[in-house]
């Protein structure tokens, strides 16, 4: 590969369009405006196309490909919002039937194409990955040569470089040195950096904004890496605990180190006499929740944590966990997520003789951990033969429990009295009290119920958050750097007896021309012509 030596003496890499040093165009010989993109540097993608690596590199280095990837991601993302994603359908619903039942044939197609879980699909991931690759290659392909070109650029430029800038003009002045001196002063006041060579100058400002896009791409890449890390095990904890009022449980995901006690759970409503919200509360028609709060106490286990031994706990901290106010400790965070009010915690019964109605004592049965035998004395006792915390009839029409949560507690009791030593069996649940054999003389009459509130907390620890934050900050810095500043260059060059004024910016030509106007108004220089504007006036 041959290097291109320019007439100014600078040796450019193979593939250079505009000399990095003096700006002489190598290829475009017509009089049209110079394409100043990336300063006409030799980009790898524009230069090599032989090997497989070249081809892959060239494909991903194209901004056009990048834009297509953005557009395809955009369209794909929008499809995912047509119907709710799998995670938002009711938890009991089976997606196989849900989409068809709810949205008909279109819903079925939606499900069959996998759009119900679009954002976790392999092709969506692939799309994001391709975007990431595009980001890296696009940036590398441009930033390295661009950096070199901006570093090597010299003050005195080739005439055809100046002529073929969008803003270019020729002025005849009496004393060119003095005029350039005056211009220099004005541009200095406008915070331009000035470079001089043989009496020619270039005033430059905001070059760092050229790096903005690359900085923000680095931020994005870091962010995407952070997201990718989540696929590795151990990078984050996402657990869920239910804690009853008064109960202390181990916090899942903390390796048995931390325990939490739910001291109290509150649901608080807005006061319907509050004048401010009167109208809104009337419109809502039902009370509006003001607060969900779990008052919690955190404990740490201090013994060696042998399985089976009662843990030895010390109180570490207390916090009122609310929505938007998680309990943070040791990198973990506990979030108020859901709750269940009025869970049955205890059912009370009295032993009664059917015929006389005479009672022989009361038993309080915990629905969390019922005892096996309740002895009422004098030969009266009740045995819990079987307990179904969440009672239902299974497929074989036999009693069973759906879960260990006491949503619908039911018991099979055996009642012993001094007369009946072999015992009578009865089935007792919510609003049911059946005599299994039909010959019972005694029964357990339901007398009281105790309720409890249960809070649902999400346990989180996320090692990737720091990386995501760093990525986000770098991204924003790059974005602001690239968008809120512009790179402006104004060349003042003596050519024969004239002064040539040319200028270039990557955006905001309006601002650039205002700067030139300031110079023109106070010197003998004439306003250069903006050829794009000129073109417009003609048409």
């Amino acid at each position: 590969m041959e290097k291109a030596k320019c007439e100014c003496g600078h040796v450019n890499p193979y593939g250079t369009v505009i000399c990095e040093s003096c700006g002489k165009p190598f290829f475009e010989e017509e009089k049209a405006l110079l394409n100043m993109r990336y300063e006409g540097v030799a980009r790898r993608s524009q230069t090599y196309n032989k090997t497989m690596i070249d081809k892959v590199w060239n494909f991903f280095s194209s901004v056009k490909v990048g834009i297509w990837l953005i557009v395809v991601t955009l369209l794909a993302s929008s499809i995912g919002t047509i119907f709710p994603q799998e995670m938002y359908i009711p938890p009991t619903a089976n997606p196989t039937f849900f989409y068809e039942a709810e949205y008909g044939a279109i819903g079925k197609i939606y499900y069959l194409l996998g759009f119900h879980d679009l954002y976790n699909s392999w092709w969506y991931m692939l799309l994001i990955a391709a975007l990431g690759v595009s980001l890296i290659i696009c940036s590398l392909d441009r930033v390295v040569p661009l950096h070199r070109a901006l570093k090597t650029q010299r003050v005195t430029r080739h005439e055809s470089f100046l002529q073929r800038q969008r803003v270019h003009g020729v002025s005849n002045v009496d004393d060119s040195d003095e005029t350039i001196e005056q211009a220099q002063q004005i541009l200095k006041e406008k915070k331009y950096n000035l470079f001089e060579e043989n009496g020619n100058i270039v005033a430059e400002k905001g070059r760092f904004s050229r790096w903005g896009p690359y900085v923000n791409h680095i931020g994005l890449i870091i962010f995407l890496i952070g997201c990718m890390l989540r696929f590795f095990p151990g990078m984050y904890v996402d657990e869920n605990i239910w804690v009853r009022e008064g109960e202390t449980v181990v916090i899942s995901g903390t390796d048995g180190e931390f325990f939490l006690r739910n001291d109290q759970f509150i649901v608080d409503f807005y006061d319907d006499t509050d004048e401010r919200f009167q109208d809104a509360l009337v419109r809502a028609g039902s009370p509006i929740v003001r607060k969900y709060q779990t008052s919690a106490t955190l404990f740490q286990r201090i013994d060696d944590g042998v399985v089976g031994r009662e843990p030895e706990l010390v109180e570490v901290a207390r916090h009122d966990i609310r929505v938007n106010d998680p309990f943070k400790f040791e990198g973990y965070a506990l979030y108020q997520y859901a709750f269940k009010q009025n869970e049955i915690s205890e059912m009370s019964f009295e032993l009664e003789e059917n015929e006389t109605g005479e009672r022989f004592g009361r038993i309080d049965v915990s629905t969390y951990d019922p005892e096996t035998i309740y002895d009422l004395g004098n030969g009266y006792k009740v045995e819990v033969i079987e307990y179904f915390p969440d009672f239902y009839f299974d497929d074989d029409r036999t009693p069973a429990s759906q879960s260990r949560i006491p949503n619908n507690p039911a018991f099979i009791f055996k009642i012993f009295t001094p007369e009946i030593e072999e015992g009578e069996i009865s089935f007792v649940g919510i609003q049911t009290n059946q005599d299994i054999n039909g010959e019972n003389t005694h029964r357990l009459r339901f007398v009281d119920i105790e309720m409890n509130h249960v809070t649902n907390l999400v346990v989180r620890k996320d090692y990737t958050l720091g990386i995501l934050m760093v990525g986000g900050v770098i991204f924003m810095v790059g974005l602001v750097q690239g968008m809120y500043w512009t790179h402006r260059r104004i060349w003042l060059q003596k050519v024969n007896d004239e002064i040539w004024v040319s200028a270039h910016t990557n955006k905001n030509w309006y601002g650039l021309k205002k700067d030139i106007e300031a110079v023109v108004s106070k010197t003998e220089l004439t306003m250069p012509i903006d050829s794009v504007e000129e073109e417009e006036k003609k048409s």
Partner: protein
């Protein structure tokens, strides 16, 4: 408290009329003869008056915002009325900031009516001060929403710039795809006028048409229409004798009353649109084009690009980054693929594509202006459609 609440509404009303005044001044500045001052110099002060009115209007609007904040005890950006109004205010703020740079009166002529349209549209939603549900009780409500609205407001200026560009350069004699498309944009905006008009008429008449129907869960429910029912809810039974019978009933998954309103708005918009065309014998764009004679298309292109270059980072910060931080605190995860969130991502991707396209030749001018229009349509879609139709974690209003 009541008085302050009343004051707040009045301030907004005054602001609305000041935006109207600004529109009129800008219209005069663009069309009117040049005024001469004592020295005989030609000077058009209407532009200055327009700009002053827009500043005073903004101050009154901010007065509304502050007083309502005091009344509610939280930043008034928590329901559709409050957010949409605030978006309008932010658009006017963006204008107030950008106008001194370019001093283009025609930008005011286009921005101010759009601001008015947004605020008028907002006022059609329930306007009571509502209490904050626990998920919204966070300092991030103000940070996230205010930043996002400001970003969107500036992006909306990009839309105004794009519109100016298109109306300036499109050749209405051709009647090609572009003309049809720009007329469709005009019609869409007129439909919002139609919606405001028709809703106000029937609410002035206290029109109500209650129905009993069967909802999507198969339960019996009731709904009250505030516009004559063209389409009814599922298995509708009218509850009064004198009300109109719907032409047909819709599937229970569709919010029939909203659909009915949309049909009425589109219909009223159509009537208004053709009325204008019938009277003037011109297309709407053709009517506006003479106002833009003095505008340099390239300058309009640059203004819209500039607005988007300024608005994009702010929108990204508010709509994605702050949003993620808040989501991590309130929802336990920084990204939940909630529809509103996804549409914010889509908005981001769209403008990112726009900014990359600006790098290539051939994407300046017309195509770029169309992208600005589409971008604004996406923002509006996310504000209105996603909130009203696609329910998700964000559907608070």
């Amino acid at each position: 408290m009541d008085q302050l609440s009343q004051l707040s509404s009045n301030l907004l009303l005054i602001a609305f009329f000041l935006y109207l005044a600004a529109t009129i001044f800008f219209a005069v500045s663009v069309t009117g003869k040049k005024f001469k001052n004592k020295a005989g110099e030609e000077k058009n002060i209407a532009g200055l008056l327009g700009y002053s009115s827009s500043i005073i209007a903004l101050l009154f609007a901010l007065g509304y915002f502050v007083t309502r904040w005091i009344v509610a005890g939280h930043a008034p950006v928590s329901n559709l009325f409050e957010y949409t109004t605030f978006l309008g205010i932010m658009m006017s703020l963006a204008f107030v900031i950008l106008y001194p740079i370019y001093k283009t009166n025609v930008l005011g002529l286009f921005t101010m009516p759009i601001v008015m349209l947004i605020i008028a549209y907002a006022s059609m939603f329930p306007r009571e001060v509502s209490p904050l549900i626990p998920a919204l009780q966070s300092i991030w409500l103000k940070i996230h929403v205010i930043t996002t609205a400001l970003g969107q407001g500036i992006l909306a200026i990009g839309f105004a710039g794009g519109l100016i560009y298109l109306l300036r350069v499109i050749d209405f004699k051709k009647n090609d795809k572009q003309v049809k498309a720009i007329e469709f944009v005009m019609y869409s905006m007129i439909s919002i006028v139609g919606y405001i008009l028709i809703s106000s008429i029937f609410s002035g008449l206290n029109y109500e048409a209650p129905f009993a129907y069967v909802d999507e869960k198969g339960m019996e429910a009731e709904v009250v229409y505030h516009l004559p029912p063209l389409v009814g809810p599922n298995e509708a039974v009218p509850l009064t004798d004198e009300q109109m019978t719907p032409f047909f009933n819709v599937h229970p998954n569709i919010k029939s009353a909203d659909l009915n309103t949309v049909i009425w708005s589109l219909f009223t918009g159509l009537v208004l649109y053709y009325l204008v065309r019938l009277i003037t014998k011109r297309k709407i764009g053709e009517l506006l084009q003479p106002l833009l004679k003095g505008v340099s298309p390239q300058a309009a292109d640059e203004i819209s690009y500039r607005a988007i270059a300024i608005g994009f980072p702010i929108f990204t910060l508010g709509g994605l980054i702050f949003a993620m931080i808040w989501a991590q605190i309130a929802w336990t995860r920084f990204w939940a693929w909630d529809p509103k969130e996804v549409w914010a991502l889509i908005t981001f991707l769209f403008y990112a594509a726009y900014l990359h396209l600006r790098l290539s030749r051939g994407w300046h001018g017309e195509k770029s202006a169309w992208l600005c229009v589409i971008g604004f349509a996406i923002i509006m879609f996310n504000l209105i459609f996603v909130n009203l139709v696609i329910a998700g974690l964000h559907s608070y209003a």
